[in-house]
């Protein structure tokens, strides 16, 4: 589904990513781990088109999106839930979702898919509330819900558990694989919360200094020493 | 150094550009006439044209450049007061002759400053008894908020009261006003016999357009002229308005006929001239005659000769008063004809001497 080939990118003269190859299949959840500053956020931003790659390619299905602007990628089916959520604070919940359907303009019927209210009943309850006044956890749900409104084939989640209360983190851990399975979406999940990743992901990658240094099934990461090796300071 | 260098400081860009263009053309005409007739004492007149941008900074800079870099023999031009002051601040220090063509509020008194346009009393004193007799006994004044209208209003009030009239209201509007509605409302409630507008420049266009739309019937005195009416106003809106000026294109004399025909020949048959332009034209001719007579281009020599010469100008014969370097101008009331561009002479008051209690040179 989604493939990146030898992606490299950076800010100004500072290189951050050095040749990342990544591929995700429909219905699969890939966990992406790594220390602070490893470049996880940067990778997602490059895939979503918010940041220009300095080399490499991004391919979705049979479409080469390497030079497409961000909105084209969104319309092609790549949805990004960024770190910090990126909610439109002054719009209502419903308007946020409505804006989310813009990505599906060329594919769907332009309406809000009602099954997202199945995942997040609170969004229906709070439809008319201004999004900025939602609590952190509710905003996170809105961000995911909004991404789903675009009928994406790829979903990029950047630390969805940040600032979320523990019991909701648990439900996100259940929800993410469910969404992937039910809708056949390829999901890239960047997380610091190991429990969540290990529970939600089918496969885990570890990034270090802009490279992927390890890959394996979540079960393999249950080994404490390996984890320490890969993620400790 | 075989030419007579005349520096012109003209608002070519900025808000006075339209008057500036006519003024510049009049200088060009005068220079061409002089050059065709052997220049000044055999020397050709060379014009140094600078755009003073209608700003203080620009006018100062240009005056300095003309004096120091181009080494001109005389400076002429400028229209509104800030340009004049700024230029004067340079010429006074450099003791350089400066001929100013525009009608202005007066109050300047400098040996090297020569005004060829009228000050308020020259226009107003003879006119007010005529207004009281022919137009009415009460006047409402609406004007731009600056010195010339303020001084004019003082002069009008004095002369009008002497003639038995009364100013029943005066409002001054800041430059750039886009809506004069409140003034017309006042006119409707005060019901003056005459409205005297001294809203000038671009605001005058706005004011007049709106005046007409409010359908006010009183006679209007407004400081308009042929150039302005033709180039700035919608057809006909100026029709019937009165204006005091030292010069009108309608003046029926051979000098004026020739002046207009050579002007149009040079700059276009449809072109108009106005009092400011004519005063500029007169200024250059007066300077030429004085320099010729003095046989020198030194500022002091020319000045010394200036009061003794007389020039047969389009407005009639004029000369400069030695006590204040102001010109004895003619004074006419014009009334705009139906096309709203040209004027007919409603009344001729003859030559009026400038009286300046504040200035004894």
């Amino acid at each position: 589904m989604l493939r990146t080939l030898a992606i490299s990118a950076g800010y100004g003269l500072l290189p951050v990513l050095n040749g990342i190859d990544l591929s995700v299949a429909p219905g699969e959840v890939v966990g992406l781990l790594g220390r602070n500053g490893a470049g996880k956020t940067t990778l997602l931003r490059v895939i979503a088109g918010a940041l220009r790659a300095s080399g490499g390619a991004v391919v979705l299905g049979d479409q080469d999106l390497t030079n497409a602007p961000a909105f084209r990628r969104a319309r092609a089916g790549i949805a990004h839930v960024p770190q910090g959520r990126g909610i439109f604070n002054q719009l209502t919940v419903r308007q946020n979702l409505e804006v989310g359907t813009r990505a599906a303009k060329e594919r769907g019927d332009g309406g809000i898919p009602t099954d997202i209210f199945g995942y997040f009943p609170i969004l229906r309850e709070r439809e008319a509330q201004v999004a900025g006044t939602l609590s952190g956890g509710q905003q996170q749900m809105l961000a995911i819900g909004r991404a789903l409104c675009g009928l994406p084939s790829v979903l990029l989640l950047d630390e969805p558990s940040e600032g979320i209360q523990p019991n909701i983190v648990q439900s996100i851990a259940e929800l993410v694989p469910r969404i992937a399975r039910e809708r056949g979406i390829a999901i890239v999940l960047v997380e610091q919360n190991l429990d969540l990743v290990l529970k939600a992901a089918d496969r885990c990658l570890v990034m270090e200094k802009g490279r992927i240094v390890h890959e394996g099934a979540p079960e393999a990461f249950a080994d404490e020493t390996l984890l320490k090796d890969l993620l400790a300071l | 150094a075989d030419t007579v260098k005349v520096g012109l400081s003209i608002p070519i860009t900025g808000l006075q550009a339209i008057l500036g263009e006519t003024l510049l053309n009049c200088y060009k005409l005068a220079a061409a006439e002089l050059n065709a007739a052997n220049g000044i004492g055999g020397r050709q007149v060379e014009l140094f044209i600078e755009d003073n941008q209608t700003t203080t900074k620009g006018a100062i800079d240009k005056a300095r450049k003309l004096i120091n870099e181009d080494k001109v023999d005389v400076i002429m031009g400028t229209i509104i007061s800030p340009e004049r002051s700024a230029t004067l601040s340079v010429t006074a220090k450099a003791k350089k002759l400066f001929f100013y063509p525009t009608n202005f509020e007066g109050g300047e008194c400098n040996r090297y400053f020569v005004a060829t346009g009228p000050i308020p009393m020259q226009q107003v004193d003879p006119m007010m008894p005529w207004v009281a007799e022919n137009l009415g006994k009460t006047i409402y004044v609406m004007a731009s908020d600056y010195a010339w209208p303020q001084k004019m209003t003082e002069a009008i009030t004095a002369a009008y009261e002497k003639a038995g009239g009364k100013i029943i209201g005066a409002d001054y509007y800041p430059f750039g006003t886009t809506d004069f509605g409140p003034a017309f409302q006042k006119i409707k409630s005060l019901k003056p016999d005459v409205v005297w507008s001294m809203v000038v420049g671009n605001d005058a266009v706005t004011q007049l357009k709106q005046y007409r739309s409010f359908d006010i019937k009183q006679p209007l005195i407004a400081p308009l002229d042929e150039v302005f009416n033709k180039d700035a106003l919608p057809a006909g809106v100026a029709a019937g308005t009165y204006a005091p000026q030292p010069y009108w294109m309608a003046l029926d004399n051979p000098v004026n006929k020739k002046f207009i025909s050579s002007f149009r020949e040079k700059f276009g048959q449809e072109k108009m001239v106005n009092g400011i332009g004519e005063a500029g034209y007169n200024g250059l001719h007066l300077y030429a005659l004085a320099a010729e007579k003095a046989g020198s281009l030194k500022d002091d020599d020319v000045l010394a000769a200036l009061p003794s010469i007389e020039f047969d100008a389009p407005q009639g014969k004029i000369r400069v008063d030695a006590t204040n370097n102001h010109t004895l101008c003619h004074s006419y009331v014009g009334k705009a004809v139906a096309d709203g561009i040209g004027y007919e002479i409603a009344r001729d008051f003859g030559v009026i001497a400038p009286v300046t209690p504040y200035c004894k040179l």
């Binding site: 602070n36 910090g84 609590s135 940040e162 209360q165 610091q192 993620l231 | -």
Partner: protein
């Protein structure tokens, strides 16, 4: 009682129709460490805002060393010795890391720790010249803690200090706070239970603007009610 640093009594606040906080009490003693936890939207950040005087409560009072600080200008509050780390990391993006810490020190009435030591403390020595805006999320968090330390506070309030940190960094942060505990009082708001567990201190649980429970963390962790509304079960 002289060692009471901060005392909040019966604090309540309304936003329009929403009663965001109701009847809250909190006492922080000198050099004491305590935590506030609770579901999203429970009012934790709002409570911190009240404690630092940036929001005036609609009822109740907050006293810092015996004086009412509600409504004082922010900088006066800071100079009284209250430091604060915001929920969204807010460093000065166009200044270098070092200048960020300098600016923080300059604001203090009597800074003690030199910049080099602060850099060391938050493990940013080798990024001292980097513009703070270019730091990764987690590094910004550390920098912000460093800035809070720079003003030599008597009371440090932390709003989700470890958000976005790796588990190891989270624990390192907790250790750092435990080390600093002897110097001033700390109030931390956090969702990361391992962090709170590591601090193992007096904990206040908020729920819908009210006190749900309070007590030592190990009591809280096992509380059924808290598990229901917040921790979840597994």
């Amino acid at each position: 009682m002289s060692d009471v640093l901060l005392q909040a009594e019966n604090v309540g606040i309304r936003f329009g129709g929403l009663q965001a906080l109701e009847a809250l009490d909190l006492t922080v003693r000198d050099k004491e460490l305590c935590c506030i936890i609770g579901p999203n939207g429970a009012g934790k950040s709002t409570f911190l805002n009240v404690l630092t005087g940036t929001l005036r409560p609609t009822s109740g009072s907050v006293r810092f060393r015996g004086r009412d600080i509600a409504g004082l200008p922010l900088h006066r509050i800071a100079r009284l010795g209250i430091a604060r780390k915001f929920q969204i990391p807010s460093v000065f993006p166009s200044l270098s890391v070092e200048d960020n810490l300098k600016v923080a020190r300059w604001g203090a009435p009597s800074p003690v720790r030199p910049v080099a030591e602060l850099l060391e403390l938050v493990a940013l020595t080798n990024r001292a010249a980097t513009l703070a805006g270019e730091l990764a999320h987690g590094q910004k968090q550390w920098l912000e803690i460093g800035m809070a330390l720079a003003i030599e506070p008597r009371l440090l309030l932390l709003d989700e200090p470890t958000a976005g940190m790796t588990p190891q960094e989270t624990l390192a942060t907790a250790e750092m706070l435990l080390r600093l505990k002897g110097e001033f009082s700390i109030v931390a708001v956090e969702h990361d239970i391992r962090f709170v567990r590591a601090l193992n201190c007096e904990t206040l649980v908020l729920h819908q603007g009210r006190r749900l429970r309070s007590g030592p963390f190990h009591d809280i962790e096992t509380d059924e009610m808290v598990r229901d509304v917040y921790l979840g079960r597994r």
